[in-house]
């Protein structure tokens, strides 16, 4: 057989195919007859039975949305809960004339005119078989009014739903985020099946980050419905599984005190527990009321928020990019020690300005006339610019870049809520890649000089500053900032905490070098010459801090400017970083007050208030 050549026999193959095709035809006919027989069974033999089923009461399956998980602060205070509310809902597909129905409902006073634009938007965005909320928090009287007119509105019904409520209003809104109406776009990333019946979904902040935990699992019930599709009787119920609770690292009291300290200003505060990375407070002022989003924010309100010049929707703590200014001086000092370009006791003579060798350009010190002879501690305490101009020049930009990268400046910290920004930590490579034009790609020595005092290309978020401060406080130990500390099972009440997530630590040439920087930071607050000595005078604990001022506009050479003449929006940003107690740090904080003027006068007292709130509290 193997030796015999196999040849194609066309005639035979053709005949074989014919038989096979005919066989296939016969099988197909049999299968079609099978289906038709089934149809005869359903449509002729069982016709009466199915006709009755179709005419009489029918079973419909309705999804039961799960109860959204709660959000607690670290001490068990509730930050987000669910409140019962009667709401008017429409399933557009079941409504013969949507516009007419909306108009009639408005006439009955069941829809507010302000909401019409929002409702139309929601109707356009959502699938026509999903319920769209027309109005929330109906009064008993309004519910009764609808009940009387109910038969006029097929596809419209009152539902008792739970709506998301944030009992403290705008407090911590930039950490918590909010929930908003579930849109068609949300369903592209979520499973439509498990969101059947769910009307709201986390849009930002913790609500979005842990949507998977908070949402829970959908349940179902079988209901008998009449010919108009209204429910008559429940037959069976498959309970939904409520969403898990999120326990935040956030401390509500601290958060509220911090917001109070920044009240009326624009700015941000981030407080971190150094040895765990727990975010104790995350403030971005001004904030807004997330409760408006859970009841369908009206178009006018939303536009108001968007057009507010203070941009309340903008999360300054995570996304605001500011030059860190003098707050990075302790770290630049550490870099100098680590790379061995200077010793802590070495002094620089500060005349009030600095020039690069062979250049006449003067880099000014903030203090006219200069600081005289300063060593590292005094340079940090008095925030001498000239000292750090010179040090930066000695270090070179690439050393500065590599060292600062260890503190996470200019890159995302990896905090566990979305939408964080990275910022910029400049280097030669960065500049080469960043600019398209050849002449812009060159790194100039002068750019290194101003990087030494946290100006120039350097841009960081308040979160990054707090993170870096926490790393100094923990002497190089580094933990990923963590807003969500654990999860709580709503049924058993059992809380599971996440482990802190260590990141690659900052290792210095010698561990003792940390003391030099930390002592200098203590001198900022408690030293006789410290720029923030005013907040140290009566402090019952020792604070290590550093003031900073970030220029908003550039001042021309040798031009003295008068703060009061500047427009409010052109004033410098005031910054302050601190941790305390200096010997055994429990909290690290970064404060930025936009256009606050001076770090020592404005930002430092805010930081002191934050530290007091946390450290001087009567423990329960």
């Amino acid at each position: 057989m193997a030796a015999q050549a196999r040849l194609k026999e066309h005639w035979r193959e053709q005949r074989m195919f014919l038989y096979r095709a005919l066989a296939a035809g016969v099988i197909m006919t049999a299968l079609i007859l099978f289906v038709i027989a089934r149809l005869v069974d359903l449509q002729v033999l069982q016709f009466e039975h199915f006709k009755d089923l179709s005419r009489g009461n029918r079973v419909r399956i309705e999804p039961l949305p799960p109860t959204r998980g709660l959000i607690y602060d670290r001490n068990g205070a509730i930050l987000a809960e669910n409140l019962p509310s009667y709401q008017l809902e429409m399933i557009p597909e079941q409504v013969p004339d949507v516009d007419a129905a909306l108009a009639e409902l408005m006439e009955l006073g069941l829809i507010r005119e302000d909401d019409m634009e929002r409702i139309r938007g929601d109707l356009a965005r959502q699938s026509s078989f999903r319920p769209t909320a027309l109005s929330y928090r109906l009064s008993e009287e309004a519910v009764a009014r609808f009940a009387v007119n109910r038969q006029r509105f097929p596809g419209v019904d009152i539902q008792a739903r739970l709506i998301r409520h944030y009992p403290h209003g705008s407090v911590a809104v930039h950490a918590l985020g909010y929930v908003g109406s579930l849109s068609e776009r949300d369903l592209q990333t979520l499973s439509a099946e498990s969101y059947a019946g769910t009307t709201h979904v986390g849009k930002i902040g913790v609500e979005k980050a842990r949507e998977d935990l908070l949402h829970g699992e959908v349940g179902y019930r079988q209901v008998l419905v009449n010919a108009q599709g209204r429910g008559l009787q429940e037959l069976e119920r498959d309970r939904p599984k409520p969403g898990g609770d999120a326990v935040l690292a956030l401390d509500l009291q601290l958060q509220m005190d911090a917001e109070q300290a920044l009240a009326g200003r624009r700015g941000a505060i981030v407080a971190i527990e150094p040895f765990s990375g727990h975010v104790l407070a995350l403030v971005s002022q001004p904030g807004y009321d997330p409760n408006k989003f859970s009841v369908g924010i009206s178009t006018a309100d939303y536009r108001g928020l968007q057009e507010n010049p203070d941009i309340p929707l903008f999360n300054r703590a995570l996304r605001g990019l500011y030059p860190p200014g003098s707050t990075i001086k302790p770290m630049i000092g550490l870099a100098g020690l680590h790379y061995g370009v200077m010793e802590p006791w070495q002094r620089t003579f500060c005349l009030g300005h600095y020039s690069l060798p062979g250049s006449s350009h003067k880099f000014r010190d903030w203090k006219r006339g200069g600081h005289g002879h300063v060593d590292l501690e005094q340079a940090v305490a008095q925030s001498c610019d000239v000292y750090f101009y010179e040090l930066a020049h000695k270090l070179g930009i690439d050393n500065i870049h590599d060292f600062m990268a260890g503190f996470g400046l200019g890159s995302r910290t990896g905090i566990d809520i979305p939408a964080e920004k990275g910022g910029t930590l400049p280097s030669r490579d960065w500049k080469r890649a960043r600019f398209p034009r050849r002449e812009d790609k060159v790194w100039y020595p002068g750019e290194t000089v101003i990087t030494g005092i946290g100006q120039g290309y350097l841009q960081t978020t308040p979160l990054q500053l707090a993170h870096a401060t926490a790393i100094v406080a923990a002497r190089g130990e580094r933990f990923r900032p963590m807003l969500i500390a654990g999860t709580r099972d709503p049924e058993t009440g059992e809380t599971v905490y996440f482990d802190p997530e260590p990141m690659p630590p900052v290792r210095l040439l010698d561990e003792r070098l940390w003391d030099e920087a930390i002592d200098a930071m203590v001198a900022v607050v408690h030293g006789p010459t410290g720029t923030a000595r005013r907040i140290g005078e009566d402090a019952p604990y020792r604070i290590a801090g550093k003031t900073g001022t970030a220029q908003v506009i550039t001042i021309a050479q040798d031009e003295k400017y008068d703060e009061s003449e500047l427009e409010e929006r052109q004033k410098d940003h005031a910054l302050f970083i601190a941790f305390a107690p200096a010997e055994a740090p429990r909290i690290a904080v970064a404060v930025i007050v936009e256009n606050g003027g001076s770090g020592s006068g404005v930002a430092a007292p805010v930081a002191r208030a934050v530290l007091d709130s946390y450290l001087l509290r009567d423990e329960p």
Binding site: L42, Q43, F50, S54, S128, G229
Partner: protein
């Protein structure tokens, strides 16, 4: 058994001349036209009289018909040359989708190539039978056992890749299109019985040994979109819709089951039930016969084809089309488990419509490019 060219009706009327010039097949075209027309009528009702949905479907049909027209111009000779490349490209795209899916999150079936998004598994619906036919075209039939191994690999490799997406329903249908080629290729009856018997014997043993939750998992795997309460709900509602339609139906736009939203996926997978409610047994039987006529014409084209490649390909395309019809109608009437297979050419949406029409384009090309003088 060979065609006598003189027996063939010569193009006489203008219409026939036009059809011949465009390489179209009259009977097949007529069948498709009637079927799609009826489909649109039903879809209008099933979609809750949505003109936007209808317009989208008409545009899609237009695109699909254009594709069919273009493919019909391509002689099978060229298709043969393209076959291995098409198959290789399809495999590469499937791997690309898997890799992209790994990097993205969750299931990924779509590939975005700028202006259009499509599922590479659609390519495979045609590429697998083409490849199987290509492999057999110059080999003596029936294939030997080693060749059978290669053929099974041609069917199973893409099916396995698609099953990873995960889309088991499509994977099985694509494997089926290749297996049909093997069956038509003359694999001996004994082997068919052996393989068939093996599958039939193993399946229940496997099934019996599974835990309830595993069975449930398999069922949900087959149809991830199914109602969490089980496919039972779909089937009950679908049977009520069909059964209450009776002999003549409730009339167009008068189906209450569909209207009141009892019937899920009524414009897509369960559109057959809408048809049953509104047009009754008469309507459904008509549709079934129409489908049968289209498949019979396809088989006729396959029988008339002049080489192995065309014959096997045409046979597979026609019979796979019938498999789709049977799986969907069987599912909607409760004869088969719920797997998400749309009713071909009638259900709303899907790139699958374009693929189906391209398949018919291939049938027309095969039929119209025959050499009229033989031997």
């Amino acid at each position: 058994m060979l065609d006598d060219p003189l027996d063939r009706p010569r193009p006489i009327s203008i219409a026939q001349r036009l059809l011949a010039g465009l390489h179209l097949d009259g009977p097949l075209l007529a069948g498709l036209f009637v079927l799609c027309g009826l489909g649109l009528v039903v879809l209008y009702s099933a979609s809750g009289q949505s003109s936007t949905l209808l317009t989208k479907q008409i545009v899609r049909l237009g695109v699909a018909a254009a594709g069919m027209l273009v493919i019909a111009q391509v002689p099978p000779k060229l298709l043969k040359i393209w076959t291995p490349w098409l198959f290789a490209a399809g495999i590469a795209l499937l791997v690309a989708v898997l890799v992209a899916g790994e990097m993205g999150k969750g299931a990924q079936r779509w590939l975005d190539i700028g202006f259009v998004r499509f599922q590479p598994s659609e390519i495979m619906k045609l590429a697998v039978p083409m490849m199987a036919a290509w492999f057999l075209m110059d080999r003596p039939l029936p294939p030997r056992l080693t060749e059978l191994g290669v053929l099974l690999a041609i069917c199973m490799l893409p099916a396995a890749l698609i099953a990873q997406q995960p889309d088991l329903g499509t994977a099985l249908l694509i494997a089926a299109s290749g297996i049909i080629v093997i069956l038509l290729g003359g694999i001996s009856a004994r082997l068919i019985v052996l393989f068939g018997g093996l599958a039939v014997a193993v399946a229940p043993v496997l099934w019996m040994n599974m835990h309830d939750y595993q069975k449930q998992r398999v069922l949900t795997f087959l149809n991830p979109e199914s109602d969490p309460l089980g496919s039972g709900y779909h089937i009950i509602q679908s049977k009520i819709a069909i059964g209450s339609g009776g002999l003549f139906g409730k009339g167009w736009l008068n189906g209450t089951q569909a209207k009141l939203e009892f019937l899920p996926e009524r414009a897509t997978d369960f559109i057959f039930a809408v048809m049953g409610e509104e047009f009754g047994l008469l309507g459904l039987a008509t549709i079934m016969i129409l489908y049968a006529l289209i498949v019979v014409r396809g088989l006729y084209i396959a029988i008339q084809a002049q080489d192995t490649y065309s014959r096997l390909l045409a046979g597979s395309i026609s019979l796979t089309f019938f498999v789709y019809v049977f799986v969907n109608t069987g599912m909607v009437t409760g004869l088969l488990p719920v797997v998400g297979v749309p009713l071909p050419l009638i259900s709303y949406g899907g790139t699958s419509m374009v693929t189906l029409m391209l398949g018919f384009g291939i049938l027309m090309s095969i039929h119209s490019h025959r050499k009229l003088v033989t031997q």
